[in-house]
């Protein structure tokens, strides 16, 4: 299943909505999108992932890389699937992101 990527930047907030499967094949496209929306150094990156069914290590590494390039960036994962949260926990990435059920107020 292909990955559908929608993005927008609104002031200090970059938003990316993902639907489908984020695997090694689709990760480069996400990487390009992330690079584009973060070029203006927003304070937050909000990833709407409710419709994301699978995230491979390539996808997680894009988040890590974003965080390493901009340590003060707050990354929100909105409505991730349980399997994705489980992977975040097991691999130690959970502490680096905010997992929420809704886009946080004030963002």
């Amino acid at each position: 299943m292909a990955l559908d990527i929608q993005s927008a930047v609104d002031g200090n907030t970059a938003r990316i909505a993902l639907a489908g499967e984020l695997d090694g094949t689709s990760a480069p496209a996400l990487r390009q999108t992330v690079d584009k929306v973060l070029s203006g150094k927003p304070a937050q990156l909000v990833l709407q992932v409710e419709k994301l069914t699978f995230m491979a290590s390539a996808g997680l590494r894009i988040l890590i890389f974003s965080k390493q390039k901009q340590p003060d960036l707050k990354i929100y994962l909105v409505k991730p699937a349980a399997s994705i949260v489980d992977t975040l926990h097991k691999t130690g990435f959970f502490d680096g992101v905010y997992v929420t059920d809704a886009e946080p107020a004030g963002v």
Binding site: G24, P28, S57, L60, R61, K67, Q68, T87, K90, G92
Partner: protein
């Protein structure tokens, strides 16, 4: 100018649409560089080398690139390949060269072989998932990403004298359904049990091998039961730099590196060091009948110790012997351990059959083995604990004489045997046990007691419960007609072979387990506890469970409730050791008073104070707390291995102090062990120590 713009990171060659250029010989392995990957591999005897690139899990390579002659410097082939998809790449090599077994060469260009420096290996991504046996490249090298966020983590550097080691098997620790973890049998599952390890009080977790191995190696079915028997322990390395993917719940996503690092980071946060059981004595390639995985097809004569006829010496008992003191192999071992120490923050290493690491290229023992010396003085490893299993399967036994360079500690097999024999009431053991509880100065007089890794049980042999439940091994489930495993166990079944409902026998077994634990944790040196001994884990008399990926080997967490008395005893006993520096000194006792306390640092006694009986079955010793650093309570330990209770005359405590009971193994909980100074005061000058019991007093 950015790195991407530099001319040395631009391709000069192209084949099949893949661009590449001359690489850099060092470091060996696959290294991500700007725009590409630098591949570098050594072979001293090959005629040529070909890089083979796959997309992940695809049966056929998408490109094979033969190294142009000018890409070889010395014996190293190196090449940078550009525009690769790092996440989707698997790589291997083909080597062409002579097939001359009598000269040690076994090149076969039809085989695709893995990189000895591969940081990630695919092919066994999910534990026990049936492999594709038709795949010509079974263990596929992949790239690793060193982007884990360690925050401020680093190795803990806990002083060796303060360690309490817990030996565990990653899978066996949580594979049982009773563990109730989210991913049984994995690094992630183990992480969820860190609170248990903390409450037990251990501060060093030693894991059986976690280098990539093949659980399917030599798999077979039990001839009678049909049970599938696997390489469960994992003492057979496929790749030294790669973690076991099947031990990671996220191995199927290729994230075993991250999952393991997360476990280590969480262990460190909990104040627990991690030590790896590493197997450098042989590889999974076996003898001349074994598979081509890596080393044999790259440079057989360099990587293995060979007979004059070109066959494999078998000092490991596993078919081959790694040629550890060849300079190239020695460097590989060093590079490997440096990598694990720096990239994974590993705190220490226990070397399986370490005596092999001291043999020369013909197999003869060296007096000054270069590898062991290099490890001892290596700047990256300087704070890592180095522990040797100081023997091998070729008959070299070096307990007490392992080349140490002031750094190496040893699994003290003599401690194990003496403790077992004393506890089972063998006569005439008091002299030797007195030496062992002091940290074995007869063996380590020039190194100190922290060279003595004290243990009574380990993965290889009986569990503690089985040690007090079986006179003989019962290895029938291994399918080898009970021929395998050690016959010399110094065990005693307490009156009945195996499980029983006899309350007297069961009570005695509990007491004997408490005795063993008390002896271990009041001994100078570094104590090691086997996974599950604290809750009376049994393997039903099997003392060689290497092939059992089942409930025989796994820890049954239901015993945490059922054996709560034993668990309480162990956790309080470990806390007792942590609380008393007198038990953890890093110097040998002087047997005299050098602080003016009026008492020697250690003194031995029998049923009469100051009169030890060196030929009997009971012994007492007193530690003067004024000699400890920092100063500690005085301690008196009375050990009665005789079957009846005996009166022990107690030496006087220091002026103004009174003896209190800290431990009494003849009692059931809560009188078996007391916290702090809550134990009863001894009013008399005589103490009745129950049969087969140990009492510890503090003042």
């Amino acid at each position: 100018m950015s790195m991407e713009e530099r001319i040395d990171f631009y391709p000069t060659h192209e084949t099949g649409g893949v661009r590449f250029r001359r690489g850099r010989p060092l470091p060996f392995g696959a290294t991500i560089v700007p725009n590409g990957v630098n591949f570098s591999i050594f072979s001293s005897a090959a005629d040529s080398c070909t890089l083979v690139l796959f997309r992940k899990r695809e049966p056929k390579p998408f490109i094979e690139i033969k190294f142009p002659p000018e890409f070889r410097i010395g014996d190293v082939y190196s090449m940078i390949v550009f525009d690769l998809d790092y996440e989707d790449l698997e790589y291997g090599y083909r080597f062409s060269g002579p097939w001359q077994p009598e000269w040690g060469h076994r090149f076969d260009e039809s085989k695709i072989v893995g990189d000895p420096y591969a940081k990630v290996l695919g092919g066994r991504d999910v534990w026990r998932a049936q492999p594709d046996w038709l795949d010509p490249y079974q263990h596929r090298a992949r790239l690793s990403f060193d982007d884990f966020d360690w925050e401020d983590d680093k190795p803990l550097e806990i002083p060796t004298k303060d360690l309490v080691i817990y030996e565990a098997h990653v899978r066996g620790f949580t594979a049982h359904t009773s563990s109730k973890v989210s991913a049984p049998g994995t690094f992630g599952g183990l992480r969820e049990k860190i609170p248990y390890l903390r409450s037990l009080g251990i501060n060093c977790l030693e894991l059986l091998p976690i280098y990539e191995f093949d659980e399917w190696e030599n798999n077979r079915q039990h001839p009678e039961t049909g049970e599938l028997l696997l390489n469960y322990w994992g003492y057979s390395t496929v790749g030294f730099f790669a973690p076991k993917a099947g031990y990671a719940a996220t191995g199927k996503l290729g994230m075993q590196v991250d999952e393991l690092k997360n476990l280590i980071k969480e262990l460190h946060r909990a104040g627990i060091e991690i030590m790896l059981d590493v197997v450098f004595n042989h590889t999974a390639e076996g003898d001349q009948r074994g598979p081509y995985i890596s080393y044999r097809g790259i440079d057989n004569r360099t990587y293995y110790i060979l007979t004059p006829e070109g066959y494999y010496y078998n000092f490991s008992g596993c078919g081959n012997t790694l040629n550890c003191n060849h300079p190239v192999v020695r460097n590989m071992v060093l590079d490997c351990l440096r990598y694990w120490a720096s990239e994974y923050h590993i705190d220490g290493f226990r070397f399986d059959l370490a005596s092999i690491l001291g043999r020369d290229q013909n197999g003869a023992p060296l007096s000054n083995p270069p590898l062991l010396e290099s490890l001892a003085y290596d700047p990256v490893l300087s704070k890592c604990k180095l522990i040797a299993e100081a023997w091998d399967a070729g008959g070299l036994y070096q307990v007490g004489s392992f080349p140490a360079y002031g750094r190496w500690a040893e699994w003290n097999g003599k401690y194990r045997d003496a403790a077992r024999r004393f506890i089972k009431s063998e006569p005439g053991m008091t002299g030797e046990i007195a030496t062992r509880i002091q940290g074995s100065p007869d063996l380590y007089w020039y190194r100190g007691p922290t060279a003595s890794l004290n243990f009574i049980t380990c993965h290889d042999g009986f569990t503690l419960r089985d040690l007090v439940s079986y006179d003989y091994k019962h290895n029938e489930a291994n399918g080898e007609y009970n021929r395998d495993g050690n016959d010399d166990n110094h065990s005693w079944n307490c009156g009945w072979e195996g499980e029983t409902n006899d309350p007297g026998v069961n009570a005695l077994r509990i007491r004997q387990m408490k005795n063993a634990a008390t002896l271990l944790f009041t001994s100078r040196g570094v104590p090691m506890l086997l996974m599950g001994d604290e809750i009376g884990r049994t393997q039903k008399g099997n003392n060689n469970s290497y092939c059992h990926d089942n409930e025989l080997s796994w820890m049954d967490w239901g015993a945490v409730e059922k054996e709560s008395e034993l668990l309480r005893f162990f956790s309080r006993l470990i806390a007792f050791r942590h609380a008393h520096p007198a038990l953890r000194g890093d110097r040998f006792f002087a047997h005299r008073d050098y602080v003016g306390s009026g008492k020697p640092d250690i003194s031995f006694h029998g049923t009469r104070a100051w009169q030890p009986d060196w030929g009997g079955r009971c012994l007492a010793f007193m530690l003067c707390g004024q000699h400890a650093s920092p100063k500690d309570s005085d301690m008196y330990v009375a050990m009665n291995a005789y079957w009846d209770g005996l009166p022990f005359e107690i030496p006087w405590p220091s002026e103004g102090k009174r003896w209190r009971v800290a431990i009494n193994t003849s009692m059931q909980q809560p009188q078996d062990i007391f916290e702090g100074e809550s134990g009863p005061i001894i009013e008399s000058s005589e103490l009745i120590v129950g049969g087969r019991s140990i009492m510890v007093l503090i003042a």
